[in-house]
């Protein structure tokens, strides 16, 4: 997957988890929780969806890597390069 595909994949997951949120103006370099109503259960949902959709495992120690869209892309790119 390209970086843009990963970015869109994460946004698509968030659109399901946070269906009331407007995502068109999400800033890539700003923490998602500073822009959106996301709590710890939502982040667990993101982790679960990455597992279900892309067979990607995100260990708890790495949850901080999913803070922003940019950091998601950086963290997930090597894991999704062959997807």
């Amino acid at each position: 997957m390209t970086n843009e595909q990963i970015r869109q994949a994460v946004l698509q997951i968030i659109s399901v988890i946070a269906p009331d949120e407007e995502l068109t103006h999400v800033k890539s370099d700003v923490p998602l929780r500073d822009q959106l109503e996301l709590d710890s259960m939502d982040f667990l949902d993101i982790v679960m969806e990455l597992r279900k959709r892309y067979s990607v495992e995100v260990p708890e120690a790495d949850y901080g890597q999913l803070a922003s869209l940019d950091s998601c892309v950086t963290y997930l790119a090597p894991k999704l390069k062959d997807k």
Binding site: I17, A18, P19, D20, E37, M41, L44, D45, M48, R51, K52
Partner: protein, 410 residues
């Protein structure tokens, strides 16, 4: 009696398979409109069920709906509607003094089935089991969702009481008001049970699941050709207050809860016990300080199982042996069996009779089972009475649990 010791109903919120407000529901009960439809369920295909059409997004964000449960969503809708109907000044309410008491037949089966199906798509690997499972399935979940949605900080819990649960929720709310634990009780019952195949499959295995080519004819208590239960979802919540509290704010009063009782059959897992039904109704009448002759409407529990209806009618004939003005009806014939919501919905459907004097009927009785004959059983068309002063609402459930609520016109 001291007005601080009298409990009144000042608001009603409900969703039923044939109505999402009391007015719509009552109108359909008087017009003979059923809410039973064909419903697709996992593993079993189309089954007969009562399905609600309320708008969850009237009071919830999409995320709340996704994260919570159907029972929680129904509870939120009913509580919000009840509070609005009661014209409570919500911002001015002391939220510590509001309690939520919801009867449930069961909770968690829907969510557990969904998770098992979910992991079945991943070769039963439990790492795909959702972290939402526990908060969705704790037994207080439907009532807890209400407190989260409405910012209520008083007590909340559910009352597991099989199909006697709707009345049980009302009784619990009344008792907490009498104990002065709260000033406002949101009390009633809810059910999401149609969203798991298990309830249908279990009734089918028990030979107690209704079948009929026409869904609207499927739920037919007291009819000779009845063949079982139509499962339904739904909810009904009453705003209960002490009379002095209600009068102080000039509230509209639907009726006063003057009598109630619960007891246990202690005789069988599923078969009802007419003697215990009798004792339950008689004890409620005694608590109300009235005679059977004073009751104008008895809202029966009958679910359209061959034996259950007969047992209840035996009990009714015993308690109301010499009661020429007492009339009997059944609401499940319209909406099916709404399980934890059933008792509360059935009571709500009858309360407007205090104003219009009309007893809604039992529909779908083409051939009355002789063993279900009860004097003044109102069949198929509504009946106008000169005046309605007392309604007795009868419910019972598996493991032998009975609940009766008596409401008086105020």
């Amino acid at each position: 009696m001291n007005h601080h010791r009298r409990i009144v109903i000042t608001g009603i919120g409900l969703t039923s398979p044939n109505g999402n407000t009391l007015a719509e529901y009552r109108a359909n009960l008087l017009k003979g409109v059923s809410g039973v439809v064909w419903f697709e369920t996992r593993y079993m295909g189309k089954v007969l069920a009562g399905v609600c059409t309320y708008d969850p997004l009237k009071y919830q964000m999409k995320k709340e709906v996704r994260r919570g449960t159907r029972a929680g969503s129904i509870s939120i809708y009913c509580c919000q509607e009840a509070v609005a109907d009661a014209k409570l000044d919500v911002p001015a309410l002391d939220k510590n003094r509001v309690g939520v008491y919801l009867g449930i037949t069961e909770h968690g089966n829907v969510e557990t089935e969904n998770e098992i199906y979910n992991i079945s798509q991943f070769n039963y690997d439990t790492k795909f089991w959702s972290h939402h499972h526990n908060p969705r399935t704790v037994a207080n979940s439907p009532a807890g969702e209400v407190t989260l949605n409405m910012g209520i900080t008083g007590p909340h819990y559910t009352i597991g009481a099989a199909c006697a649960a709707g009345n049980a929720g009302v009784i619990q709310g009344a008792q907490m008001l009498l104990l002065d634990e709260v000033d406002v009780a949101l009390a009633g019952g809810v059910s999401e049970s149609i969203h798991t195949f298990g309830i249908f499959a279990s009734f089918a295995s028990q030979n107690a699941l209704a079948s009929h080519s026409d869904p609207t004819k499927a739920s037919r208590p007291f009819d000779r050709d009845r063949n079982g239960i139509v499962c339904s979802e739904g909810g009904c919540v009453f705003v209960l207050e002490r009379l002095d509290h209600a009068e102080a704010r000039g509230a509209r009063i639907y009726g006063e809860i003057v009598g109630y009782h619960m007891n246990s059959d202690a005789s069988d897992f599923v078969l009802p016990n007419a003697l215990r039904h009798v004792e339950c109704m008689q004890t409620a009448l005694k608590r109300a300080g009235i005679a059977p002759q004073d009751i104008d409407i008895v809202s029966t529990h009958a679910t359209a199982t061959p034996l259950g209806d007969i047992q209840e009618c035996q009990a009714l004939r015993t308690v109301f042996a010499d009661c020429p003005k007492t009339h009997f009806n059944n609401t499940k014939s319209f909406i099916g069996h709404a399980m934890g919501a059933a008792g509360a919905l059935e009571l709500a459907g009858n309360l407007p009779a205090f104003d219009d004097g009309v007893v809604h009927p039992t529909i779908n009785v083409d051939h009355l089972d002789p063993q279900c004959e009860v004097p003044n059983l109102v069949l198929n068309t509504p009946k106008k009475l000169p005046r309605v002063d007392y309604i007795l609402n009868n419910s019972s459930g598996m493991l032998g649990i009975n609940s009766v609520v008596i409401v008086k016109r105020v």
